[in-house]
Assembly symmetry: C2
Homo-oligomer: 439 residues x 2
Amino acid sequence: VSAFLPQLSIRTKRDGGRLADDELRAFVRGAADGSIPDYQLSALLMAIFLRGLDDRELATWADAMLHSGDVLDLSAIARPKVDKHSTGGVGDKISLPLAPAVAACGVAVPMVSGRGLGHTGGTLDKLESIPGFTVDLPVERFTELVDRLGCCLIGQTARIAPADRKLYALRDVTATVESIPLIASSIMSKKLAEGIDALVLDCKVGDGAFMTTIERARELCAAMQAIGRAAGKRVTAVLTRMDAPIGRTIGNALEVEESIEVLRGGGPADTRELTVELGAEMLALGGVASGDAARARIARALDDGSALALFGRLVEAQGGDARVIDRPREVLPRAKTRTPVLAPAAGVVSAMRSRDLGTAALLLGAGRKRTADAVDPSAGIELVAHLGDRVERGQPVAFLCHGDLPSDAVERAAALTIGAYDLGGSAPAPLSRILEVLR
Amino acid sequence: VSAFLPQLSIRTKRDGGRLADDELRAFVRGAADGSIPDYQLSALLMAIFLRGLDDRELATWADAMLHSGDVLDLSAIARPKVDKHSTGGVGDKISLPLAPAVAACGVAVPMVSGRGLGHTGGTLDKLESIPGFTVDLPVERFTELVDRLGCCLIGQTARIAPADRKLYALRDVTATVESIPLIASSIMSKKLAEGIDALVLDCKVGDGAFMTTIERARELCAAMQAIGRAAGKRVTAVLTRMDAPIGRTIGNALEVEESIEVLRGGGPADTRELTVELGAEMLALGGVASGDAARARIARALDDGSALALFGRLVEAQGGDARVIDRPREVLPRAKTRTPVLAPAAGVVSAMRSRDLGTAALLLGAGRKRTADAVDPSAGIELVAHLGDRVERGQPVAFLCHGDLPSDAVERAAALTIGAYDLGGSAPAPLSRILEVLR
């Protein structure tokens, strides 16, 4: 469009109208190259927040964001290439056992991950708690490892979807984050830039998640599936319960240790369940197996040591100390202090508020309040008591793992932790983490 | 508020909530001093555009804008001080005869006016077509003239409502102009800064006006009255018809000439009617007279030469050539060329689209597309045929007055002018310009 005037397009969206492909692409290009001023971008973001984008607009917007930067070309890799993305939970370490388990079953997993922010953790931070492990690999090395091992886990480069980085930073300071089309296009533009064939979306629902209701979660999944459809990529959305934390650990090194238990065929039941179910959907998208057969393939890869061995090779290839798979407690950093949190009364754990537990872990140093903060890889929480467990008065429900901190930080984390437990008279019915699967 | 975070307040408004006084004042202060970045201001403006402000928020927002700069103190002037504000029309020269007529009746008129933009004209541009006339007077001189003569007409200084100037510039490029609370607070903050006791608002309604429906016009008036009420100032709103242009001239010097006709007791009926009706409301607010008695006072001031004499003294005091009141055609700049626009068929003028006529005058040099443009004081349109007039084929309906222009500019203006006339079979019923008065 020769006569593109941002304010005219902002007006159209403000009044609930449809933006043409050219207008949407002009905005995304202008965000990436800086030619549209921030004040016009933020007015448009607010108008999109309040008026929405239809499926066509959404697909164009996401495609423009995707093509604002580099798109990896993994076409030389013969195997199907399927990634998993989680909208972020507390204690969500699933990528660590999942990627090698799926790769061990013949589906390549080119995984570009993020860092933790706020009460949720990030895969990159967890991996970096393994001494020597690097998530900064050149694209050629990433491609080579995906081809040779079947998986590789790296961080997002500055050249992937630069328009998203610009818009995300603006959304953060203009109260336009929690918009389904803006979230969906942000995630999908980065995931499609990996050069994948298909994606499994783990959409967390509940108190500890970004989406607190199942209706909003379904809307988000539908938006991401619409973007995937328009790009010719299949997206399976798995809605999973995010009430109590996943597994029994929160914190980077602690979660790596627990992931290795899962890779040894053990680990907490919910953590293994998520790995098996999400892995089975990835195998289905990769055309390797589906349903119970796919679940059995993933379970076997966990039980027969093939996934663990692959994880060891991955750690080795990414510069980490591969002895971690056999002696995690020796290799991983340990917190200087373990402060017990004691049950104030006897009872059965009937509910756990994972958001508060995530915030407590953050206060202990496991997470970051701002992007620029450093994390303490050894910090976090060991959850001794989990849903349905009986505790006696004065018995530890959890241990806070931390370094030298101001005592008020530890006290606040302890208060948040004890407050996050509901000690009732009876155990809740054991529930699957899986709420529904949208294929 | 020690912990004011703009994004939290933007979120509140985005979700349709109420902003606290402190939050509103912090935004306006941040706009004036530059401490809140443009992208947050524009996100807030869009949220206000789509979610609105309630009466309390509106009053606080307007009060904060008013106090972002200087507020004139006219308390030394004993007479009641009443101003008139028009939302802007085509051919709207009413301020010129109105201010001296009202002042001649004993009510002081401290008038701070604006310049024309787009298809509507501005009082300052009209006054400046009088050779030597200056609208840039120091505040002390303005106050002195209001006291001595009863009226003075100046331009807005940079020190009046600086937050409004900042926000207005942002609104212009972020499609957040046409918002009732934002328009109302912008106008009222500037008017209340004049130190007036009361205000008559001439709210134009129709094709040539900013408010095209009477419902929207009523909403705007209600918002401005709410702001006035909160500030302890009475506001009378007069809704007036803005279909055909006001009077028979559009353009700066042409409108001054027509205003002088009104000040001589003549002039087009609608132009005199508006002067008398708006003047009567100003006298009522000033406590001098009301109803028919007030109308008679204004009419007498126009008919007995007292308003004209006062206008001459005003021109003299503001540096202009006061001979203009007796020999306007000699004193005012004349256009080099008068291009007739001929009727394509015989008929009676049944409708005139004033927006197109305003745009035609702009193309001839009478107005500005951008704030920085210069105007040609002699340019404009003389409307030979007006509502209800019979025209024959080939007879001029209007003359385009202009200097040396590219021929396509004159052709476009001529096409707009002829297209603005509806030539029907019968004359429309003569209608008053006054639609309703809200006191």
